[in-house]
């Protein structure tokens, strides 16, 4: 390993030994995380080299790359030490020493679940892409590029590297929506791009201000975190507000979610899976990371955060209830569910943060599964209007089973992963704000209203002409749906698997706020 690793107060940090060790070459420091990052890029390069007519081969290469990446990420799981709160598998490379930028990767209890989720959903999305028949080569190339960028965001240990990956996700997404999307795809893609770029401006400004405060002139997350703790409260608040706008666009938080319904509706379904499953989590992940850096600022804005969270929660739920377009409904339900994540983060205590992280995983699985199923249904019926559906349980029992399961998981039925998340958020919220959590329950109730309504509309009622010859889920579609459903149930019944993974990091993280107060 290239970096000199130092333990400080039980937390693994690294020092900038790179300047002192100029002989260090890139390759000697290549570890599993770099490999995880490079593998999809390599797959994308391979696809680029293939002839564009051989659709089958391209698809196989993409599938193989994504599967390998998932296996690799699972391998990470086995050698991950759950008792260690700090960063693990740390790799540091020299990148741009003049600006203090390093190419450094690592994972801890926050990022490992996200990396796993990203690789899993990428594979599911690629599996669900069988209906893409235009410009196949470009599509899979961009999908793999997107996967690399997303995993990069979750593994980066340097704010500059983080920002690079963050922006890198935009490029493949823009083209994916713009080329393979629905009727209004151009407007949606542009809208998405402008919104996220606007958010990124605030993100960049806040990052630069932070960079300015660090004496050594470095972007390393650990160094910045140490230096920023001594900043006055007022400055911390201002910087955090910038981050909040930047990450809030991606998450999305209530007034700045305008890109989301349009983008989700217009994007091809596999892209919607990634968009809601992982891209939204990047926002909340960044927010958690930045809260650790600016604890005083977060505590100052805690009330604002919880207000935004509750408004997002109820606003998104009510609008989801009003939608006739199935994809728009899921999009607004994402706003609502991410409101729960923000609520968990805003509590800044162990239970709430656990709930937030659990909800990130839960929503990744649930929204991924919903977009997968609704997308597949749309391919067969070519309508997304809920009023056009009826009594599919007789025609397509597998669709009915998986969709119902996913919707009840979205509501948070006990036995599904959504329940664990909601329960933790509820407990955390009650510890911090008492009876304010009643509003949270109201949000959950609204989500039950639209979820059960949708299940009822889709699958019960009289058989409708033209809908009784739909084909049910087939081979790979079935596999993709089963994987997600199994994740939802498994983590719902045995949440300890996931809780163990993140508990050490979470405990240390939440204690750092108790110290500030």
């Amino acid at each position: 390993m290239a970096a000199k690793v130092i333990y400080h107060e039980g937390r693994l940090i690294y020092s900038k030994v790179l300047d002192a060790d100029p002989e260090d070459s890139f390759l000697t420091g290549m570890g599993i995380l770099t490999f995880l990052l490079i593998l999809p890029l390599f797959g994308a390069a391979l696809i680029a080299a293939l002839p564009s007519e051989s659709h089958r081969l391209i698809r196989v290469v993409a599938l193989a790359t994504a599967s390998l990446n998932l296996i690799l990420a699972c391998g990470l799981l086995f050698s991950f030490d759950t008792s260690q709160p700090g960063l693990q598998f740390v790799e540091v490379q020299r990148w741009n020493p003049r600006l203090g930028e390093t190419f450094s990767l690592g994972v801890d209890g926050f990022s490992l679940p996200m990396v796993l989720l990203a690789t899993l959903l990428s594979l599911v999305a690629i599996m669900a892409s069988s209906s893409i028949d235009r410009q196949v080569k470009g599509y899979y190339f961009l999908m793999l590029l997107l996967e690399a960028a997303m995993t990069g965001v979750f593994m980066a240990l340097d704010w500059a590297l983080f920002y690079v990956f963050w922006e890198l996700t935009l490029i493949p997404l823009f083209f994916l929506i713009d080329r393979w999307g629905g009727i209004n795809r151009h407007g949606a893609a542009l809208n998405f791009f402008i919104y996220t770029m606007g958010g990124s401006v605030f993100l960049l400004i806040s990052l630069l201000v932070l960079f300015d405060t660090v004496p050594g002139g470095t972007f390393a997350m650990v160094d910045i975190a140490k230096a920023a703790k001594s900043l006055p409260e007022h400055t911390q608040t201002l910087i955090f507000l910038g981050f909040l706008v930047g990450f809030g666009v991606k998450m999305p938080i209530f007034p700045i979610h305008g890109w989301l319904p349009l983008a989700h509706v217009e994007a091809p379904s596999p892209v919607s899976i990634l968009l809601s499953g992982i891209l939204l989590k990047m926002g909340s992940y960044g927010l958690i990371r930045v809260s650790g850096v600016l604890p005083k600022g977060v505590l100052e804005l805690q009330d604002l955060l919880v207000a935004l969270a509750l408004v997002s929660l109820i606003y998104g739920g009510l609008l989801a209830w009003r939608q006739t377009d199935l994809k728009a409904m899921i999009a607004y339900s994402s706003v609502s569910h991410m409101g729960l994540v923000l609520f968990g983060i805003a509590t800044l205590n162990l239970a709430g943060l656990t709930g937030a992280l659990m909800q990130m995983v839960a929503h990744g699985l649930v929204a991924g599964a919903l977009f997968l199923l609704i997308g597949l249904l749309y391919e067969r019926t070519h309508t997304r209007d809920i009023n056009h559906y009826s009594s599919l349980v007789r025609v397509t029992p597998r669709f009915a089973f998986f969709t119902t399961l996913t919707f009840v998981a979205a509501v948070g039925l006990p036995g599904t992963v959504g329940f664990i998340a909601e329960l933790h958020a509820l407990i955390g919220g009650f510890e911090r704000w008492g009876w304010l959590v009643l509003l949270l329950s109201l949000g959950v109730m609204i989500s039950a209203a639209y979820a059960i309504r949708t299940v009822g509309r889709l699958f019960t009622g009289p058989v409708r002409a033209g809908m009784h010859e739909l084909s049910d889920l087939r081979g790979s579609e079935m596999l993709a749906a089963t994987v997600l459903a199994a994740g939802i149930i498994l983590l719902g019944l045995f949440p300890a698997i996931l809780l163990d993974l993140m508990s050490a990091s979470l405990t240390q993280f939440s204690l750092s706020f108790a110290g500030v107060q």
Partner: protein
Amino acid sequence: MLERLAWLIPTLPLLAAAWTGLGMLGGWTRRESAERPTALVVSGASLLSLSLLLALSIKSMISGPPGQMVLGSWFGSGDYQVMISFSLDALGLSMACLVAILCLITQRFSVNYMHREAGYQRFFMVMSLFTGAMLLIVMAGNAILAFVGWELAGVSSYLLIAYAYDRPLAAVNATRAFVTNRIGDAGFLLSIGLALLWIGDVEWPRILQADIPGALTAGLMGFGFLVAALAKSAQVPFSPWISRALEGPTPSSALFYGAVMVHAGVYLVIRLQPLLEQAPLLMALMILLGGLTVLYGWLSGLVQTDVKSSLMFSTTTQVGLMFVACGLGWFEWAAWHLALHAIWRTWQFLNAPALMHLATRPARQVPDWLRRRPGLHAAAMQRFWLDPIADWLLVRPTRSLSQDVRDFDQRIINRIIGLPDRAGALSTLAQWETLKQQRSRRKGDVGIARGVAGRLVQWIAGLLYWFEEHLILKGGGEGLERGLKLIGVYLEHVERLLSQPRYLLLMIMATFVVII
């Protein structure tokens, strides 16, 4: 050793009932050829129970009864523990033997009597269930275990009265009998609760020997048990249910209402002798109600015209006499009376279907003194209007109250909360389909809610929808795009102006002016 097997005695008939029930569900006992194995299993289980009981009795005759047997813990919560225990004393053992013998005889009788009846398997299943339940009542070592048997006996009597469930009268009578018995169950439960509260235990010996402070508390606890006993034994004012119970097939009437189940109440009273003796008021109550039942049964019995009804009323009279005896403190006498009466009555009931062949002289007429008193005669014919009185006092007020509550629910609560998609108003599929088609013709009708709360949510959602459409989607997303385009157009203008030479010259001149 033998005492350890006591749990098998009530369990064997229950297992036989379970086996028969499974056979009905699984469908392997549908055919007529399955009648024999069913009868064999059911009577075999009863016979095994009886043999065990006889062995136990002989052993206890030689070396004294084993008394209270605790076989293990059933469940517990906090300080309260409920055991699996059996009272194998003289009373329990003799009663159990009586029950087992009578049940076995009746089962044997039913093999021929029920032959080729539609519900043969069902009848034997319930019969076996009842045997197990009765054995549990008389052998249970604590109130809760006895209550389990008590309820199982109630359920099996319900199932047997409604044996011909396709006849509306049978179903109504079964419900009536069951609900009347539930009044007694409420008393039983009350006493169990009080025992747990005051004594902290429900074992019979603990309840009976406990040092209960004051006659009032003992009376209250005894009162609950007494209500249960009166209801089960069809004493006034609970009597009418027993004449309704005649709807079932004859062997079941014999067993349930003629011989065994009506005596369960007397058994309970005898079992609770020490407790009741502490409360003189309860003893007086027993004499009063028992005496009233004797009068009621005697007078009504005199005017009956069918075999089973007159047998039934004479049973009620005899049981009333047992209660009077208990009230006077002659508990042992009541126990002897019980046993003899049960055996005699079973014989009578099982003979009832063949009475026309056996009878040598016509039935006696209503005696002259009764005929001369038309008021009393009418009252006896009408069975002292106990049923209408209960209707007037309990059933009708309950019905009108439930109607009122239902109206309140529909007119006020439902309007405030709102039912989803008129769930209550649709009864046929056709109705539903037309509604569905009408509804789906309207566009964009999601987000419709009923009730005050629903309307409020709908209104808020509409408001938010407008906000989202106009300010966030149009103003934010598209507006941003439009604004950028507008700026682009302006910049293009500026660019075009700047690219014209005269403005360039002007700028250069301006620069010079500034420099100079």
